[in-house]
């Protein structure tokens, strides 16, 4: 028996040794032409190996930034002049590692396995980032705020994100100040029917009915529907949010009862009349029956195909795309969009202010947190913003009076996206162009796109509570399932609306909702 054991141990050791031998031999060659790393220093850990890099790059301080980035951004090459410019300004030697597909899981695994970069960007308001904070893997930025005014300003914009007064990361909440969602309609159908873009819930109903029953495309067949959208995926986003807001729902995330306590939004008095309106639409058959199956691409397709006259779609850069795609099959097609329909008391809303996004932190393993903070400061500053959007004057652009002239040829050599869009470092981690309604000054459709964002942002509803509590993160999927189940049952008449609303509240509360309410009430009253 002993012999057997020894033998297996020996063999195991031999196998390990052979694999190690293979690994170190092959590793050095492919690591050299690393495309997304800005310098040759590859992805070895921050322990030991970075000290070696320190001496080789003179006085420059090596900084490794692991980020989700954005799949739409261009690849950063090793001779990128923007990275070089940042390195020169700050005396750093920056390595950017952008994980494939913006996959936050990869970032979480790297952190959990002790592979700490100096700066890390992960998902905001997720259990993983919560753990980084709880376990002391990331440091408080408070000590570095005074030396870095832009960082300070940015963090104070998100004052609610501080935990006991400490800022552990720069949140970047998507759709925080801006929205790009609107109800998009067929303008040519409205014209055919002699109608205009609906302003109230009653108008909306009339338009959807006309789209469905009055042959808006004039083909003599009853083959159209009024409205479609994405299937309902969570309590946070239903295809009919606009109905609730029109009926007086005030906030995007929760509601308040008469005693000023936070309650789930579906306990608001607006819920039942809204559900009745929605059920009315559903029963009259003006909503595309495939609503429960739709994803973003499918709903758009139905609109382009002329099967449905309106949908909740994205505007901003997508305005021309919708129009062009629609005209593939309907050469005379035109689109209309406007503020969400109003209720009797004049309230309206469509999209909800975001609560999730990214968070960029300095890790506890960072040897030069002051340099890391200086880098973050530059990234969120006006100066850095311009550097990433416009580039270096004289190389990437020139000024012709007040007008910016891009040198696309030079920009293509570095990681700028074509047609005047920003450098890869600008994408995803700190801002998206939408947040500041940025369209390159050279874009011919600029005004129209910017106008669409203004309208969409006007229909955006703010949150009651900005932060996400730990318990919400933990319980989100369970309580969401409860909501989705009841919502669908009520819509399809499996359960009456009043009864459904009561049971929904009871089930939601018993399956984790009470704990959530306790936590958010504490936050609300604490403020």
């Amino acid at each position: 028996m002993k012999k057997k054991k020894m033998l297996s141990l020996l063999l195991a050791a031999a196998l390990t040794a052979s694999v190690v031998g293979c690994g170190s031999g092959k590793d050095s060659a492919p690591a050299q032409d690393s495309g997304s790393a800005a310098t040759q220093e590859s992805s070895s850990g921050s322990d030991g190996s970075s000290a070696a890099a320190d001496t080789s790059s003179g006085e420059r301080v090596p900084l490794r930034w692991l980020t989700t980035g954005d799949t739409a951004a261009e690849v950063i090459k090793s001779d990128d002049r923007i990275v070089e410019e940042i390195n020169n300004r700050l005396g750093i030697d920056l390595t950017v590692e952008i994980v494939p597909e913006g996959n936050t899981e990869k970032v979480n695994v790297a952190m959990a396995s002790g592979d700490f970069p100096d700066i890390v960007t992960g998902g905001y308001g997720t259990s993983a980032t919560q753990q980084w904070i709880d376990d002391g893997m990331v440091i408080s930025m408070n000590d570095y705020m005074d030396a870095n005014p832009s960082l300070k300003e940015r963090l104070e914009t998100y004052e609610w994100s501080a935990i006991d007064g400490s800022y552990y990361g720069i949140p970047f909440i998507t759709q925080y100040n801006a929205s790009n969602a609107l109800i998009i309609m067929r303008q040519d159908w409205l014209d055919n029917l002699g109608l205009s873009y609906p302003e109230t819930l009653d108008d909306m109903k009339a338009v959807l009915e006309a789209f469905t029953f009055d042959d808006p495309d004039g083909n003599g067949q009853n083959d159209t529907y009024g409205f479609t959208s994405d299937k309902i995926s969570s309590a946070n986003s239903t295809p009919f949010d606009w109905v609730f807001f029109a009926n007086g729902l005030k906030y995007a995330d929760y509601a308040l009862d008469e005693n000023d306590n936070v309650i789930p939004w579906f306990e608001d008095p607006a819920f039942i009349p809204s559900m009745e309106y929605i059920k009315g639409l559903w029963d009259s058959g003006v909503v595309g029956p495939e609503l429960m199956l739709n994803d973003s691409a499918k709903k758009e397709e139905k609109f382009y195909q002329g099967k449905v006259g309106s949908f909740i779609g994205t505007v901003y850069r997508h305005v021309t795309r919708h129009e062009n795609s629609l005209r593939e099959l309907n050469p005379d097609g035109a689109i209309a969009y406007g503020p969400a329909p109003k209720g009797e008391s004049g309230t309206f809303g469509l999209s909800k202010q975001g609560k999730g996004g990214m968070m960029t932190c300095i890790t506890a393993a960072c040897k030069n947190p002051d340099k890391a903070a200086a880098f973050l400061d530059l990234m969120v500053s006006e100066e850095g913003n311009n550097l990433l959007r416009l580039g270096i004057e004289g190389i990437h652009y020139t000024m012709d009076g007040d007008e910016i002239v891009f040198n696309e040829e030079e920009r293509a050599k570095d990681a700028f996206s074509p047609d005047g869009w920003a450098h890869a470092l600008a994408w995803g981690s700190f801002y998206w162009p939408l947040e500041s309604n940025y369209i390159p000054p050279t874009d011919p459709n600029r005004e129209r796109m910017q106008k669409s964002v203004e309208i969409a942002t006007g229909s955006q509803v703010k949150n009651l509570i900005n932060s996400r509590t730990a318990i919400e993160i933990e319980k989100a999927s369970v309580v969401d399932d409860v909501f989705v189940q009841y919502f669908n049952d009520m819509l399809q008449g499996k359960i009456g609306i009043e009864e459904g609303a009561q049971k929904l509240s009871a089930d939601w509360r018993s399956q984790g909702g009470e704990e959530i309410l306790e936590a958010v009430n504490a936050v609300y009253h604490g403020n």
């Binding site: 690393s34 597909e101 396995s113 592979d115 691409a297």
Partner: protein, 297 residues
């Protein structure tokens, strides 16, 4: 020349058995169609224009041909880089897999090997209890394989299931063959490569195909261990294209997603055609290979 006439004696089928045949064949054809249609749909959409794609719900034949998707993809340098990476991973990876698996399986098939039960147990143990994502990540990192194509080859060098298939196959081969070869002066290694392997073609090709398809389709280890876009395998490139809509919807860059379904389908076709071409060559061994370990003849 005398021709020999062969009288055919058709077996008489009862009505019941004929009805069974009809139903059986119809059902199987339907099943085959269900399996085939998604592929056909994908192929048709990939050669359709956007207009033609939008105008029909079921895509049986393109009403308007367009190879725009393919011509766009062919010009895309990232596609070719990831193609090369995938080819490397598949070819080199499968070679490494086969070399190690064959040698391990052959040795383990020898009943007189001391400790073969322990070794087998150790191998099977990993089938039931694997290290998990984070420990594997640490191993890959500490072996300095991060951001290297080898990270997609070495950590999965042996698949226990395939090892067992091959071991069972080897164990069923007559021991007399080995004895005869040894008597004729063949070495142990010679026995494996000159005698045993040539008569194990069905099993070896089957396992090769399993490994090759696994490598070709692997994207998860690429997500975990590879950052540099220059080292993305094809599947990662493809996935990032197909799932880019999230990014596109958040209001960021101009993406392939915006170019429509035909473009995506063209990319899908380009990714699956190479591995599909491999199937016919393996087909004849395939069913024989997986069953041969199961039934003793």
């Amino acid at each position: 020349m005398r021709t020999k006439t062969v009288k055919s004696h058709p077996v008489k089928h009862s009505a019941g058995s004929r009805i069974f045949d009809v139903i059986n064949i119809t059902l199987l054809i339907l099943l085959a169609l269900v399996a085939f249609y998604p592929f056909w749909d994908c192929l048709v959409v990939s050669v359709s224009s956007l207009k033609s794609y939008l105008s029909t719900g079921v895509h049986l034949w393109p009403s308007e041909w367009s190879f725009e998707g393919y011509s766009y993809m062919i010009k895309n340098i990232d596609l070719w880089i990831s193609y090369a990476n995938s080819l490397f991973i598949t070819v080199v990876g499968t070679l490494v897999n086969m070399l190690i698996t064959i040698m391990a399986a052959y040795v383990l098939s020898k009943k007189d090997l001391k400790g073969h039960r322990v070794l087998m147990f150790l191998a099977v143990f990993t089938m039931m209890f694997s290290g998990g994502i984070i420990p594997t990540y640490i191993v890959v990192k500490d072996l300095h394989l991060m951001n290297s194509l080898w990270s997609m080859i070495l950590p999965s060098a042996v698949n226990t299931y395939n090892l067992i298939v091959l071991r069972n196959f080897f164990a069923d081969l007559p021991a007399e063959l080995e004895e005869a070869a040894l008597l004729d002066g063949c070495t142990d290694v010679g026995v494996l490569f000159r005698i045993m392997l040539p008569i194990s073609k069905p099993a070896v090709t089957t396992v090769t195909l399993f490994y090759a398809v696994d490598h070709w389709n692997d994207f998860f280890s690429a997500i975990m261990y590879i950052n540099s876009r220059a080292k993305w395998p094809l599947q990662l490139f493809l996935r990032s294209m197909l799932f880019e809509n999230d990014a596109a919807y958040s209001g960021s860059g101009e993406s392939l997603f915006l170019l429509g379904q035909p473009m995506k389908m063209a990319a899908v076709m380009m990714a699956i055609i190479p591995i599909m071409c491999a199937y016919p060559f393996f087909q004849k061994y395939f069913s024989k290979g997986i069953t041969s370990g199961a039934v003793k003849g």
